[in-house]
């Protein structure tokens, strides 16, 4: 069998070998809290990783909190900032690691959430955000790039709205770097989360940018590591890996984004006759992620059939297989439930080549002809 074609980088992108190499030197690191020289080395590596990450984001090192990943960063951003009586304006197509903490906060701390609407292209409206802000609004929650469709939100403008209103703006930027070279920390962004393994870093490490760490309350209790916001012995190989991956992305983003754009175009040409793209070509979107609807087919079945052909893709966000429920993101965009269950998502990585796209299209064509 031919080696498989991996088009699921939005779920997790393989760790870049150059990142692995950097991490290996730190597998046996000491505790950065220790006084001895081994501890000092670890502490220096941690500080350096923080600074490298901060430079990539264009922020100060003390504004970076390392975590165990995107989900922890998102929970910490919300739980660390919101209190009883707060009002939140949130995008409905957020990742479950944002939607579910918000829902839990509604029931446990009696915060109030006003969900925005999105149009057929997954876009929130700035006027809608402005309209929903009220006296007790504490935070705007809008992601940078949608993980299922690739839709890019007008983060820069939302930042300005938040800044003018003097409220928090939390942006889940997990998928940001795969399609953008600019830092997502625009004016007005007060909270921003990243996940290492979405851009060639390792799994199990993420970070949270906090404009003012003093305003965040820790959600776990222990030592005073990570600006006293996130206790626990820091994951030295992990943070070294995250910082390295981030630097590599920024250094190579131009070529990568160019590559993704041409892969994206090829995919649209090849799959155009077979299905229908979720987003129009003109909509603001990350070139790394493309979703297609295949009305009349069942995504669960197609995923298995494609997998048996060595074509590794996914349907919407990871782990939909075995759930069978239509994607909440597509439903929010007005896609009918029976069509929403026919979606497949393709996402590229630095090693994706045009022959991978051709193989995918050929596999899909065969599969649709034979069923």
């Amino acid at each position: 069998m031919k080696p498989s074609v991996y088009l699921d980088h939005a779920a997790s992108s393989p760790t870049d070998p150059r990142v692995v190499e950097q991490m290996l030197g730190w597998m046996g690191s000491a505790n950065p809290g220790s006084v001895h020289r081994s501890g000092q080395k670890a502490a220096a590596a941690l500080a350096k990783s923080r600074r490298r990450t901060a430079i990539c984001l264009g922020v100060a090192p003390e504004q970076i909190v390392f975590t165990s990943g995107g989900t922890e960063s998102n929970n910490l951003a919300l739980y660390g900032a919101l209190s009883t009586g707060d009002h939140v304006v949130a995008c409905p197509t957020e990742h479950p690691s944002v939607v579910n903490p918000l829902r839990a906060l509604v029931s446990s701390k009696q915060i109030e959430v006003d969900w925005l609407s999105v149009d057929s292209q997954g876009q929130v409206k700035l006027s809608d955000i402005q309209k929903k802000i009220k006296q007790n609004t504490r935070m705007i929650v809008v992601q940078g790039v949608n993980s299922e469709t690739g839709a890019v939100q007008p983060v820069e403008q939302i930042g300005r709205i938040a800044d003018e209103a003097g409220i928090f703006f939390f942006c889940d930027a997990a998928q940001w770097f795969a399609g953008n070279s600019k830092s997502p920390v625009f004016l007005g962004v007060t909270h921003l989360s990243l996940s290492g393994h979405k851009f060639g870093g390792p799994k199990g490490v993420g970070c949270l940018f906090l404009r003012d760490p003093n305003q965040a309350r820790p959600q776990q209790f222990g030592g005073d590591q990570e600006q006293a916001v996130r206790p626990g012995t820091p994951n030295i190989p992990g943070v070294v890996g995250l910082a390295t991956a981030l630097e590599l992305w920024q250094a190579e983003s131009k070529e990568r984004i160019q590559k993704f754009s041409s892969l994206n175009q090829l995919l649209a040409e090849q799959l155009g006759p077979l299905g229908q793209a979720v987003l129009k070509g003109s909509s603001p979107a990350s070139p790394q992620i493309v979703s297609f609807l295949f009305p009349g087919y069942n995504a669960q079945q197609m995923l298995m059939q494609l997998d048996l052909l060595g074509l590794e893709v996914s349907s919407g966000s990871a782990c939909s297989l075995g759930k069978g429920e239509p994607s909440a993101v597509l439903l929010a965009m007005g896609v009918p439930p029976d069509i929403a269950t026919t979606v497949l998502r393709f996402s590229f990585g630095p090693n994706t080549e045009s022959q991978d796209i051709r193989r995918l299209a050929e596999g899909l064509r065969n599969l649709m002809e034979s069923s």
Partner: protein, 350 residues
């Protein structure tokens, strides 16, 4: 041959998968997520532990493994009719229906869509091809034989089934597991339904039918009132304990009368009957040669067969047993055998 194995994480289906891999087949593991009562943790057939176990086995064997969501379909096709049958005063057998509609229905469809030639499971039953047709025979291990719950599979289903454990016994299966190095925790075979919680099917029925179950009267065969019952679904034909009344001699549930909402009780001698009408027939073999002849019939899971003459009847078939049989339960399956071969079967009507 491409073969899909219905995996449960248990020793039987794991051995099946390993055996087929060893034989050089292109094996794919499949598991369906089924519905369970919200208060109960998980459906026993596909609890997270079972999924993890199956995943590990598939990983060790190097075969693809997929889990598919069939909760809603299972609820509609199996659980809802289960409740309705009880409300109608009959005792359903959901496993028979599940094998027909879900395991060898929906899962078979999935297998075919994956390009499989066969769907293999760990059932203890044997398939014998004979003159372009398939015969379902009892498993070689009589203590594990599962042919009874497979009687509703059609020829179209049987021709695509594979039961690699049909010819061996459980001890041999365990030996194979050891040979293949399968680390399968041995969990006790459960007699309970997979989708109900710890308080069993009666607790489930109470919740699933709240408001629909009406208390009524216990009566004897002459219609004399003997006491009050909690509702038909809480009783089964043949039941003696838990009636809540004491009698000078043992009294058994003889019948559930849904028209009158009465539970009919009687003495030991009244439990026996010689004639049983069976409806909703499904024949795996041509029934012609058997009409008017002696066959053996099993009228509940985990019991032995009794000899009976099978005759055509307006509602399907009538069994006239050589010796009277006890506690014939409407709703349960009656399966007809010729020696070890399943001829067909149906639902006990009266």
């Amino acid at each position: 041959m491409r073969i899909v194995v219905g995996m449960s994480g248990g020793v039987d289906s794991s051995v099946v998968a390993a055996k087929l891999v060893e034989e050089g087949h292109d094996v794919i593991g499949l598991m369906l997520r089924l519905w369970s009562e919200p208060s109960c943790k998980d459906n026993r057939c596909c609890a997270p532990e079972a999924v993890e176990q199956a995943r590990m086995i598939a990983g060790d064997l190097g075969i693809p493994f997929y889990v598919l969501d069939y909760k809603q379909q299972f609820k509609e096709a199996i659980v809802d009719p289960f409740v309705q049958t009880y409300l109608a005063g009959e005792t359903p057998n959901p496993c028979v229906l599940c094998n027909q509609k879900i395991r060898f229905g929906a899962m078979m469809d999935e297998a075919l869509k994956l390009g499989a030639d066969r769907l293999a499971t760990g059932h203890y039953a044997q398939l014998i091809e004979h003159e372009a047709a398939f015969e379902l025979h009892k498993g070689a291990d009589s203590t594990k034989d599962q042919s009874y719950v497979l009687y509703r599979l059609s020829q179209a289903q049987l021709r695509r089934c594979l039961f690699p454990l049909g010819g061996i016994n459980k001890t041999q299966t365990r030996e194979l597991a050891a040979k293949y190095g399968l680390e399968v925790a041995s969990k006790p075979d459960s007699q309970d339904l997979c989708f109900v919680g710890e308080d069993g099917y009666r607790g489930f029925l109470g919740r699933a039918t709240s408001g629909l179950i009406k208390p009524g009267k216990f009566v004897d065969t002459d219609g004399n009132i003997l006491g009050d019952h909690h509702g038909l679904p809480f009783y089964t034909v043949g039941q003696r304990r838990g009636l809540g009344i004491s009698f000078p001699q043992p009294m058994y549930v003889l019948a559930l009368d849904s028209d009158q909402n009465q539970v009919v009780l009687g003495k030991t001698a009244q439990r026996f009957t010689q004639k049983v009408v069976v409806s909703d027939l499904l024949f795996q073999q041509d029934p012609e040669p058997f009409w008017g002849k002696e066959i053996s019939a099993r009228i509940r899971y985990n019991s032995s067969e009794s000899l009976a003459t099978i005759q055509s009847h307006a509602d399907g078939a009538e069994l006239i047993f050589n010796e009277p049989v006890a506690d014939v339960t409407p709703g349960q399956a009656a399966v007809f055998y010729h020696q070890d071969m399943v001829i067909g079967g149906g639902k006990i009507k009266e």
